[in-house]
Symmetry: C2
Subunit: 436 residues, 2 copies
C-alpha cells in the first residue's frame, strides 16, 4: 500500500489493511489485525497495491463524445474549424452521454475525482451523482456570452456546492484571459472571495498566448490574473506551459492557493514548444496536479499515462534524468493533485480520517514483473488497465474491471445515434473564436 | 481490418475475414464469403479490429529480469554502475527466464516478432521456439571479448538461421562502434556479405556518442559504419538519435538495406537531447521501425506505447502538429517495422501470401468510443491491453488475453529466486565499460 510519511515521502507498506467506515478511512493497519474483524464487505487484494484514487485535475468530460474528431491540427484550427463549430450544436443530452462515457473511462482507469470545466454542467453534476465519482465542477463562460455567462457560472457553483453527499465541490470557471475580459475576471475574483469559491480557468496555455498577451496588453496572462484579483482567490490554472520567468514571483506572492494542472500529452500532440514548468513551480511551492484535458485533444482520459508522461517529459525538458523520479511522479499523482482540486485535506493519501477514495492495482502481469523498485513499477511499467478495483467514499464503482454504476453499451449506442447532428458544421457558427 | 493499398496507404476494411492456411494468409475476403467455409478453427472477432502483429525492432528481451533496477540515472551510470556489473553475473538460465517473461509481455501486448540483441542467445532461440513468436536474433559482442566474440556471433547466426520452422532469422550483432573496433566491424561486414546475413547494432545512440566520435576519430558513428563496410550489408541501426545532417547522404547512398529502430521512451527517460530524426530519414527513404529497447531502460516492452510516443514526440520535435499522423504511425508499426527486421515481404500487412501474424484489438471499451477516426483511435486511444488475441504463423499464442504457450507464474517464481545472485554488484566487475 502506498503511504506518505510525515514529510510526505512516498513509501510502501507490506501486508497492509484499510478499514473503511462511513466513507472514511477509519484505520490503516496490518492484514493480520483485521482477520477477525466484522465487516459489511471485505476485499482481498493479495498481489495488488492500494493507491489513493487518481485525480484528473483538468478535463472537459463531455468532450469524450468528440474523441478523434479533430486530429493532427494546430491549436487554432482545432478550435476554430472543428471544436467550437461543433460545440454550437451541443445539447444537454450530448453532455450527459459524453460525461457518462468519460466517467466510465475514468473509473476504469483508476480515476476517482475530476475537475471539470464545460457547459451544461447541471448534466455533468447529475452524472457525477449517479456514477459515484467525486468532482470539482465549474460552468465555463466566455465574455462573448455577456453578463449572463458569468452569472450562470456563479449560480451553478452555488447551487451544486456540496451536492451528491459532499462529493461535488464547485468553482467559478471563466474560460481564459484571452476569451474573458479583465472586467469579467475582476468581477469573478470578487464573487470568488465573497462566496468562498475557487476559480478554475485556462491561463498561459502555451507560449503563443503569452507572447500575444505581451504584445497586446504589455502583460503576461499570469499578470492579468494578478491585476484582476484572480490570484487573490484559490485558483486552479490549466496547463501554464506559457508561464515565464517573470511570472514566477507573481505566482509566489499570490494571496490565494494557486495550483497548476499539467496534461502533457496534448502539448506534444499540438507541438507546443514548451511544457508546464514543473521544476520552477516546485521551487516556489505551487503544487502541480496531473490531468488529461478533454479527450478531443488528448484522445484519452488516462491519468496514469499523464503520470508517466509527466515524469518522462520533465526529465527530457530539464535535460536531467535524475529529476522527476518515480516517487516524485507519485507525489504529483496523490497529494499535489488533491491540493490542486482543493481537496488536500480530504483525499490524496491513505490515512485515517481521509475519504476512502482508493484503487487496487494488479502487479502480477508479466509487464510488471519482477519488482526491483515498486515506485518505478507503478509509474513506468504498470498501466491504467492494471487497476482492478476503484472505490470512492468507500463505495465500489469498479470491481475486477467490471463497472457497477454506468451502462457503457447503452451510453455508446445512444451517443452514436446523436453524432451526425452533433458533428455537423454546415451552419458555419462557432461558440467562440480562437484569437489569442 | 487494417489494409494497405497499392501505394501503401493505410485503410480499413469493414466486415472482413482472413483465411489462414499452413501459417499463411490464403485470402482476405468478406465475413459473408466465409460463412459456410469448412475450417479447423474459426475466430469470431466482431467489435474487434485485425492488425498485422506489432514488431519490436530492437530489444534485449532477457533484460526484463532487470526492469526497474537502474532508475533515474544518466546513461553512463546506468551502464557502468548497474547494468554492466550485473550482466557479469548473467547465466544462461537467467537469460531463459528473462526471455520467457519478455515474450509473455510482448505476446500480451500484441507483439508477434522481435529483433533481439543480447548474450547467451541460444537460450533466447529456445524460448522463441517454445513460445511461438517470430524473431530476428543476434549474439551481441564487444571487441573486449577478443576474436572469440565476433566468431560466436557468426556461429550463432549460422546455426539458428531458419530455425523454429523458419520463424527465426539471424543477424550478426556487434554491440556498437564505441565498443567494437573498426577492424572487428570491417571483419563483420565481410562475414555479413559472405554469408548473406544482416547486421544489427547500436550506432549514434545519442548526440554525446556522435560528438565523442567526432572528437576522437574525426568521423561520426554513421561514417564509421560506412568506412568499415557495414553499410554495404543489410543493417538495422538501433536508436540513431545522434544521426546528424552530414550522415544523411552517407545513409542515402548505402549499398545495403539500411533501417533504423526508434524507442522514444528511453530517450526521454535518459534525457537525451534529441530523438530519432524520423522525418529526415523518411526523406532519404530509410524505414524507421518501432522498438522498446530492453525493459531495464524502457521499463516495458510495449510497442503500442512506442507507436503513440513516436507520433507525439515527432510532432513535438518537428514543431508540426500535422506531421506523423496516426496513419503514418501505423505505417511505421506495420510495413516499416517489417522492413527494418528484414521481413518486408513476409509480414507487416494483411495480404494473401504473407505469413499469418495477426492481432485482434477490442475497441468496445469506453476509452475507445466513439470512433470518429479509426487510425486515431488505434494510435492515440487504444492501448496494448486492448489486444485480445495474438496469432503467429496462424497459431494462436494468446486467446482472450490468456497466454497459451508460456507459464508466467512459474517463470516469475524461479526468476525471483535467482535475483539476489543476478543483481549482486559486490564483485566490482563489469562486462564492458561505457566510455563513448
Amino acid at each position: 500500500m502506498l503511504v506518505h510519511d510525515e514529510e510526505e515521502r512516498i513509501g510502501f507498506r507490506q501486508d497492509a489493511a484499510v478499514v473503511v467506515r462511513g466513507g472514511r478511512i477509519d484505520a490503516v493497519t496490518s492484514a493480520d489485525a483485521v482477520t477477525g474483524l466484522a465487516a459489511a464487505e471485505r476485499i482481498d487484494a493479495r498481489g495488488q497495491v492500494a493507491l489513493p484514487g487518481l485525480i484528473n485535475c483538468h478535463t472537459h468530460a463531455p468532450m469524450a463524445a468528440l474523441r478523434g474528431l479533430a486530429e493532427d491540427l494546430p491549436t487554432e484550427e482545432w478550435f476554430n474549424e472543428v471544436v467550437w463549430p461543433v460545440e454550437a450544436n451541443l445539447t444537454e443530452r450530448d453532455v450527459t452521454l459524453g460525461a457518462r462515457l468519460a466517467c466510465a473511462e475514468m473509473i476504469r482507469a483508476g480515476v476517482t475525482c475530476f475537475a471539470d470545466h464545460y457547459f451544461a454542467m447541471d448534466a455533468v453534476a447529475a452524472v457525477v451523482a449517479e456514477c459515484g465519482m467525486r468532482a470539482l465542477l465549474g460552468e465555463a463562460y466566455f465574455s462573448s456570452q455577456g453578463a449572463r455567462g458569468r452569472q450562470r457560472s456563479l449560480e451553478f457553483a452555488l447551487a451544486h456546492r456540496g451536492a451528491a453527499g459532499g462529493r461535488i465541490t464547485t468553482a467559478l470557471a471563466p474560460h481564459a484571459p484571452y476569451t474573458v475580459t479583465d472586467a469579467d475576471l475582476a468581477a469573478t475574483a470578487g464573487l470568488a472571495r465573497a462566496h468562498g469559491l475557487p476559480v478554475h480557468l485556462h491561463a498561459a496555455e502555451n507560449r503563443d498566448q503569452t507572447d500575444a498577451s505581451l504584445a497586446r496588453h504589455g502583460v503576461t496572462p499570469i499578470e492579468v490574473l494578478d491585476r484582476t484579483g484572480i490570484l487573490g482567490a484559490d485558483v486552479l490554472i490549466a496547463h501554464g506551459t506559457g508561464i515565464t520567468e517573470r511570472d514566477l514571483p507573481v505566482l509566489a506572492r499570490a494571496v490565494g492557493r494557486v495550483a497548476v494542472a499539467t496534461a502533457p500529452r496534448g502539448y506534444l500532440k499540438f507541438a507546443w514548444p514548451t511544457t508546464t514548468p514543473v521544476r520552477a513551480l516546485r521551487e516556489i511551492g505551487v503544487p502541480v496536479g496531473l490531468a488529461t484535458d478533454g479527450a478531443a485533444s488528448n484522445n484519452s482520459l488516462d491519468v496514469w499515462e499523464s503520470m508517466a508522461l509527466t515524469a518522462l517529459i520533465q526529465k527530457s525538458t530539464e535535460g536531467d534524468p535524475r529529476w522527476l523520479t518515480a516517487r516524485q511522479a507519485l507525489h504529483h499523482a496523490t497529494l499535489q493533485s488533491a491540493r490542486a482540486v482543493g481537496l488536500g485535506g480530504t483525499v490524496g493519501s491513505i490515512a485515517p480520517g481521509r475519504r476512502a477514495d482508493l484503487i487496487l492495482v494488479d502487479l502480477t502481469g508479466p509487464h510488471t514483473r519482477p519488482v526491483h523498485d515498486l515506485a518505478a513499477t507503478l509509474v513506468h511499467s504498470a498501466r491504467s488497465s492494471d487497476v482492478r478495483t476503484t472505490i470512492v467514499e468507500g463505495r465500489v464503482l469498479m470491481r475486477d474491471r467490471e463497472l457497477l454504476t454506468l451502462d457503457v453499451p447503452g451510453t455508446v449506442a445512444e451517443l452514436e445515434r446523436r453524432l451526425p447532428a452533433l458533428t455537423d458544421r454546415g451552419h458555419g457558427r462557432r461558440v467562440q473564436t480562437y484569437d489569442t
